[in-house]
Symmetry: C2
Subunit: 460 residues, 2 copies
């Protein structure tokens, strides 16, 4: 009978093929935010369904009102094995600004870096590289007698656009998808050498606001001074969103925000987080959030407000003396604790409306809304996963928070009453959502080995 | 010997050909702000030089460090005639947002409107339609024995980008270009039935500011809260530019701004300006400028600050949780009285720099800088032009200000010590710089007749 060591050796031996399989997935520009790429999303889904069938899963692409889901399931080699549902997403972020990419984003390549070789492509980390770590672990088990757990798989194609089709899909397919535990691979390690389990996730609200003034663009010479400028109105709104101490000024925004439990605060202090290096790596030196908060609090346990995009008037080369008819911004809020996404969105809309002068109107588009998540750090699954990760990486796994939101974790809890174990192998410098996104080759390889160990540990 | 009436009859008879000639010029997309259109600017210049030669002018295209100038000259039929220099510009504004044009901007067409037929195209009014009124007047004189004045012509191709090559060109060609009087056709009528002579022009400063934060775009989930957001910094700067009463908050900005002389204020009150109609036509109702000022003051005699364009982060469809590395805005100031463009630009830069938090830098690009102009309303040329315009339009010409700046008028004064007479036939609703720019066919036709009358009046 094959041992875990045999499985790990198979993963080591499979490395070349694993890279080929990942590269072929990375070459598909499955950008879920851009309609022109919807057919590419379909292609990526089909590709993954094929891959799963190749691994002995029953698998199918399942259509939704948005991008399709891929669902698969395979039995464990033994009876009474636990049932896990693995989640990943095949959609990726848009690639602009394209001119900052050293090589085309959908032509994956290997490059050298301080941690050895890295895989460079849009989606290399988020989330194609991450989800493929799990499939490579499954492949190695299949080549060594079978899976230690009953494994279902769910791959989503709308994670980067707020997962609009997910809740209804989960509710409809609850019977198939409900497992003892969800495994979610969309998070980071503590650093290149230290694995991590993520137990806190911030929620997310994204609102787009369009400020409308005159019924057409005007000449600023003819109308300037007399006609209201929507950019000026928008700037006032956005400037007012933060007070002088960096706190968010929406009335009621902090309702449901709690102080960090002392035990978690204590552990975080023990992580010995290096503010200077964290900010220094991206060219910054001073934490820009709420006064009196540590950087880790700012990015993990405190809510935020950011403008993700703004546009209005003439933005081409040179100058144009236009007084634009409209201006718009995409504003996102990261939520923590019990902050209510719906109430935050309403507070934002009221805040904007309260700042509109005569003749100016605002229109809103909701792009996302999900509450924050806090998982237990003390369950059996976390204990086993920590042990498995420590065996692979040679040091204890950190229990961390994450600034980003992963809506599926909340949806699993709400729709399927299922807990999630969040383990991922991304690094802070992976430039996900940015030009030249990468994934360490060691993350890809040792990630697969880590999942093999975790599956084995969960089955014990 | 041909009379002025013969010349006017010839203009009436030439209408069809005049439209053809204008349409062929309008079909050239001579956008001076966009490098891809530089060859089109060259073509427009060549086209005008040909046109002038066809009218018996000695004419040539003359290259500059930017877009070329077109210079022409023709002798009067009599000796001792005065010498005028006519100025217009063949470059046009960019056409975005293109989707708001009913028909393609460089496929000129006739359409019906409340004032009869109109010519629709980018540049129909600003300034191709306007400059062609003068050439059609010259054509009619040529068909009736010759010009009453010695006429030089200067067509510029950089008016929409702040006329960077103009001052040096004037200085270098002072001998050829210096005339008794400049005629500038780039302004409006008082309304569709009332001609106007413009004697006050606001100056213009355009500064582009780029706010830089992190060294790359960041994921707002990973860095949001801790990393400074350049859009937030920019919003604060732009919001601070105006105080609660609509006044501009740059220190020293109002230095050199004078109250309107009582005689001018009196005349403006007599114009019986209709605020409600002026703003109502573009969908607005409340003047948005400094408290306690009339709308005419806001657009003619008070300085302004407008944001003409802003961009940062993700501006495509959907949402992207990016925390951008930079954000930028194009900010313009309309100047009056003795405001110093250089000092305003410096004050703006200092104002921005004073609002930069740690880790944030600002870069600036100057796009334009010209002081305000006030011409005498009492000279002989103005008197003769008013009489000529009244004869054509059947009612007295209004003496008005204009909110836009026409840098050439200042340059003529400084470089050539030459006064300008500003007469134009645009209307407030011509949508210059906006989609569906138009020029009334009556402006085009009666504009040519007006110039014939003015040239005759100046020669008397």
């Amino acid at each position: 009978m094959a041992t875990l060591d045999d499985v790990l050796s198979t993963i080591d031996a499979n490395q070349g093929g694993a890279l080929d399989r990942l590269f072929s997935l990375l070459a598909i520009p499955s950008i879920s935010a851009i309609p022109a790429h919807f057919p590419d999303c379909d292609r990526a889904a089909d590709r993954l369904a094929d891959e799963l069938r190749d691994l002995g899963f029953e698998a199918s692409r399942q259509d939704t009102p948005g991008r399709p889901m891929v669902v698969g399931s395979a039995k464990a080699k033994t009876r009474d094995a636990p049932h896990v549902l693995f989640y990943g997403h095949y959609d990726v972020q848009p690639v602009d600004p394209l001119d900052l990419w050293t090589t085309p984003p959908f032509e994956p390549r290997l490059a050298d870096g301080p941690n050895g070789q890295r895989i460079v492509a849009r989606g290399a980390c988020d989330d194609k590289g991450q989800l493929m770590t799990f499939l490579e672990a499954c492949r190695a088990f299949r080549q060594n007698g079978g899976l230690p757990c009953n494994v279902s798989v769910l791959f989503e194609g709308e994670e980067e656009t707020g997962s609009p089709s997910l809740p209804a899909f989960l509710a409809k397919n609850a019977k198939t998808l409900k497992a003892d535990l969800a495994l979610v691979c969309d998070t980071t390690m503590w650093d290149a050498k230290t694995p991590a389990i993520t137990t806190m996730l911030r929620g997310l609200v994204i609102e787009e606001v369009v400020i409308n003034g005159a019924n057409r663009d005007l000449h600023s010479g003819l109308y300037g001074g007399a006609a209201i400028n929507p950019i000026r109105v928008l700037a006032r709104v956005l400037a007012d969103l933060h007070d002088a101490d960096g706190a968010i000024a929406l009335p009621g925004f902090y309702d449901g925000v709690e102080e960090l439990p002392e035990e978690v605060a204590e552990q975080w202090r023990g992580l010995d987080f290096d503010d200077v290096a964290f900010l220094g790596e991206v060219g910054l030196s001073v934490p820009a959030g709420e006064k009196g908060r540590s950087t880790l609090e700012m990015i993990w346990s405190r809510p935020t407000c950011d403008v993700n995009g703004i546009v209005g008037g003439y933005t081409g080369e040179g100058a144009k003396t236009v007084l634009p008819a409209k201006a718009s911004a995409k504003v996102s809020f990261r939520l923590v604790g019990k902050q209510n996404p719906e109430r935050v969105a309403q507070a934002f809309r009221a805040f904007v409306k309260a700042r509109l002068p005569a003749d100016v109107t605002a229109a809103f588009i909701a792009h996302a809304g999900s509450p924050a998540i806090a998982l237990s750090t003390r369950g059996e699954a976390v204990r086993r996963a920590r042990r498995a990760l420590e065996a692979e990486w040679g040091r204890p796994a950190a229990i961390i928070g994450a600034g980003g939101s992963i809506p599926v974790v909340g949806a699993f809890k709400r729709e399927l009453n299922m807990d999630s174990l969040m383990v991922g192998f991304g690094l802070a410098d992976d430039a996900i959502h940015s030009p030249n996104e990468k994934y360490e080759r060691s993350s890809f390889h040792k990630g697969a080995r880590s999942w093999a160990r975790i599956l084995a540990a969960l089955a014990t």
